[in-house]
Amino acid sequence: MQELITRAKELLADGTVSRVLGWKKGDLGWDPEPAYFEKEEDLEGFVYNPFCGANLSKYLIAAGKLEGRTLVFLKPCDTYSFNQLVKEHRVKKEKTYIIGVGCRGTLDPEKVRAAGMKGIEDAAVDGETLKVATLYGEKEMPLKDALLDRCLVCKGKTHVAYDELIGTQAGEEAGPGELAGDRFAEVERLEALPPKERFAFWQGQLSKCIRCNACRNACPACSCLKCVFDSSQFDSSQKANADTFEEQMFHIIRAYHVAGRCTDCGECSRVCPQGIPLHLLNRKFIKDINTFYGEYQAGADTESRAPLTDFTFEDVEPGIVSKRGGGR
């Protein structure tokens, strides 16, 4: 962390960048928040620890409108979102300076608390162990039990965009604590259920939604200035859902709007205060796109055409959904 601060100070001092976008200590130790640092002294408040889950790439849309370059710290999976934003002309590479930081997975505070940790102040990873500094002294737990679900199916430790790397090397492999699972396993489990049970599952999940819009606001792919959900004409406007249709409407449209652009960064599920597994909706689209139109990872590059703005003459017909065994 000290290394990051020192380098940021250097870049601020020599005028390469006008501000630094990173994380600062939040109200509680397990809740660091995204922050801008404009002066070298401000950087004393900078933190980078495994609780820094927030993907900072979306803030670059606003930062790009300011004078000068913005230094930003991105974890490997955050750089996919960055590329996607560049591809969609939302962010300019020239206006940013990326320092790729190493990542051993980000933590789910709920899981850490569930392991009996109280008064959490800080955390650090040591091999496969998580060392948590608490008010009652240092405690340990296995790293894999504390990681966010998204990190258990990590895309890998390679930064796909960066100006320099600190605390990691190009092409670094994921550690054994990560990549434990198949990211489509849960989607497949749901697909195999009878429609009635699937409906009940989603009704149970989606009816918890309080329409706080955190998922929308955190998502780096959701970057429209005027959002369809803000329209007073829309049938699922800004309020808690009154019936199942509104729940489905909001969630289908939200997931659909990022279909083919979602990098599977997992921010939506991470920020949802109601714990709705939104990634299961996004991954359904990703899985379908992969099977119907060929493997596609949004944000892997800045040029390729997105699956929904492309086609081939031989594409499958929509009837495939029932032939494949829909309506089970």
Binding site: P195, K284, I320, G327
Partner: protein, 146 residues
């Protein structure tokens, strides 16, 4: 006097593109081929004009089935519109199926201006399917029901 409605009459919305399918429907009519009156046609310039939200909206307002008809792939009046529509609808239908909405309620069929017979056959088949599935309850807005 109160009229008792016991028989289920499905409400079916058919989005038809102006150039092929709407003309196909016209041909079905002028050839005196029958299809159920439960099908309400909405004319759109191209199948790709249909935003996935239109389909959801139709269900919200009480449709029991929604079918999209367009020119055969390769015959689109705007050259490529139906190719985009095809991808969009495939993903949408798959998502609806995933959420547990019966997948027979949605359908895409390519009907050319010369296929009046196909149009009426498709509509008869689709209406029969919706009859079988019954009323749409999983994708409805209670406030839109009377």
């Amino acid at each position: 006097m109160q009229v008792e409605h016991t028989e289920f009459r499905p409400k079916i919305v058919a989005f038809c593109c102006n150039w092929c399918s709407y003309a196909g429907a016209d041909l079905a009519g002028s050839s005196r081929l029958a299809y159920p009156a439960d099908v309400k046609i909405i004319r759109v310039p191209c199948s790709c004009r249909v935003n996935p939200m239109f389909i959801l909206r139709a269900f919200q307002r009480g449709a029991d089935g929604v079918i999209l008809c367009g020119c055969h792939p390769g015959d689109c009046h705007y050259t490529t519109g139906n190719y985009y529509a095809r991808r969009r609808m495939t993903l949408l239908f798959s998502m609806l199926d995933y959420l547990g909405v019966e997948d027979g309620r949605t359908r895409v069929e390519w009907v050319s201006a010369a296929e009046g017979v196909k149009f009426s056959a498709t509509m008869n088949e689709f209406v029969a399917k919706i009859h079988e599935l019954g009323e749409n309850v999983r994708l409805e807005d209670l406030r839109c029901k009377n």
